[in-house]
Symmetry: D3
Subunit: 143 residues, 6 copies
């Protein structure tokens, strides 16, 4: 078994806000992220799949197909968007780095299943960097 990772980037806005709380509570918990005008990041994501390299091609998966899945199922939905306002999974879930990693895992997993040649690809990890100093890694709930 070997792991293969593809990196991609998108730029998006978000804010942290809980409608059930007062403005003061939101600011207390979320600090300067609680500005409802939004702020933004250049997110970097790393999508890792695992498997045996094919004896003929030497590929665990077709990297071009993996790129297509990432673009269709993540970048086309997240890039140059406001995550809270335009991405359905963040309508009621705060788009923290952790929650974005889980959401991207779910999107990639569905995208692999829906792809004609990637059905058997095994997703191993999704890593999301909000900045170069903060990142989350999700492995489907396992560690």
């Amino acid at each position: 078994m070997i792991q293969l990772t593809r990196r991609a980037t998108f730029s998006a806005s978000h804010y942290y806000w809980n409608e059930a709380w007062s403005a003061a509570e939101n600011e207390h918990v979320f600090g300067k992220c609680a500005n409802k005008n939004g702020h933004g990041h250049n997110y970097t994501i790393e999508v890792t799949v695992k498997g045996e390299p094919d004896a003929v091609t030497g590929f665990v998966v077709d990297l071009k197909a993996l790129k297509d899945v990432i673009e269709e199922h993540v970048l086309s939905v997240y890039d140059h968007r406001h995550l809270n306002l335009e991405v359905p999974e963040f309508a009621k879930v705060v788009p923290t780095t952790e929650n974005i990693a889980i959401a991207i895992w779910n999107r990639i997993e569905a995208g692999l299943l829906a792809h004609p040649t990637m059905k058997t690809a095994q997703l191993a990890a999704v890593r999301v960097f909000e900045t170069s100093d903060i990142f989350a890694e999700y492995r489907g709930g396992k560690l």
Copy 2:
């Protein structure tokens, strides 16, 4: 003469939009940046000053004071903000990388003049990276 540069980062939202144009025109010129929900970036800036190193301290400028000027005059106004909606110079000017570089130059120049010990510091360049692949450099109009 020697140049000394200090790098800093901020995260902000923006969009590109000209109120005098139709939505179609805006989209034609500004592409996916014309989404009025906004999108965002981790901006990196490089502020360069020039001068002779002081014979005793070895400093062209006090780097701590330069950091204070950057924080007070740029980061505190731009970081975790929506540039179009919350930063006055972008109320009517599109916050492109070029215009952000010019605006930061103006803010730093004013900030140096207003600082008790930085009045004589000579600003040489401001560089703004919107992403790692796009950056503008402004040298006060000279090249």
Copy 3:
């Protein structure tokens, strides 16, 4: 379960030396690191915690609190210091990248326990980069 990582940096001096050995032995084993005048590095550390994202906030831990723990328990003690001469755990233990990773793990673990809201945070890994080409990762003794 998900992992969340925060990166930080500090600049410090160190040297490698075993008082029980001759100078020749020290040089043989430690090479140019055996210079007792010391040399230094910009260390980068990555502190990883794990857990379930909170259903309301979307946070595994409060990143601001994690930053405070890193600053109080590691950076304030290590940054701009001579590790051998000023940091107690390296009075008799050689400050190799490996030992620094273990020491930072111990400091963060104690710091989480001592913090009013971080008691239940689970430390997962500490990674220490001495340069961009050499790094150690400690996971509390597990791999």
Copy 4:
């Protein structure tokens, strides 16, 4: 137990081609990598060993010896070479990132065994970056 990683780089050419296939098939599967004139990359590798830090030296392994093993067994064979034409393991195996990672693992493992002081070093992982956006990680077949 702790992990220690050393990074190194080499520059090499390669192409993807299966002699049993037609040119059209090769192009269909391998895309622009199927150009038999070759193209090239600056590869970055990360070699990770694991173990207990020595109580006296603080080292898991002698990093200088690890560097020698990497240079003798990998860099001297791969750097400034055409992988398909000059490196024996790729005479019949396609030099994908995955296969390069496995080949480097095998070379390092043999190199450690052949080294006078590194026999007991435990190899934990080999990571190979073909570009900054694509990398494979091999842990001896385990994940």
Copy 5:
């Protein structure tokens, strides 16, 4: 006046060889680059244009159009190619970092002139990184 830079990457093979010299002479001057099987790099290029930001759009040039020029006139010709064998300007000129920078300048300059909306764009600099440690910068012969 302000400068705007766009970064791009391509992967290519090359070798250094002068047909008028013996193999020994080639090796003496070009070292391990004189391997005629070729070796390769991930090249990073930075293309800088200068001008006044447009009062309405805030753009010095249309970055999308600049990207198209770079892709059509450089990347489509250089990426995944063997520079000596497949790129005409290197049939008789050694593809050193310096010569690649000059060749890319010439290609971009011609590409801007041939582009419907980029005729008046002023090229200011081309920077080519062969590795992260070696780069050439060409400013049209001026410094």
Copy 6:
């Protein structure tokens, strides 16, 4: 004319201290850099030469010879050293980033003159990064 740059790194200790001042004055001006136990950095330097590419070799200078000059005249003196205690030019001059850039310029300039084949190489710039956020650039006094 074209510019060619070579990057290198060294790790060193330093502190900022003026013997003519009291401890309080030193701390006031130099902050946490005034710790006489020293602290350290991984310095990155960029040495830039300029010239015309040779019509036959395509080289502005022989990069291998430039590397030798940097290693002999800078790295062998600065790497794994305490700049204040072991490098003569900093016995009485504070090793700020600015002063290190000037000192490296002087060393490289002398090294080029002393090298059998580099006498006519024209030094254009020396850039010194103390951290990734602070750097000085010296161009022989010109800007």
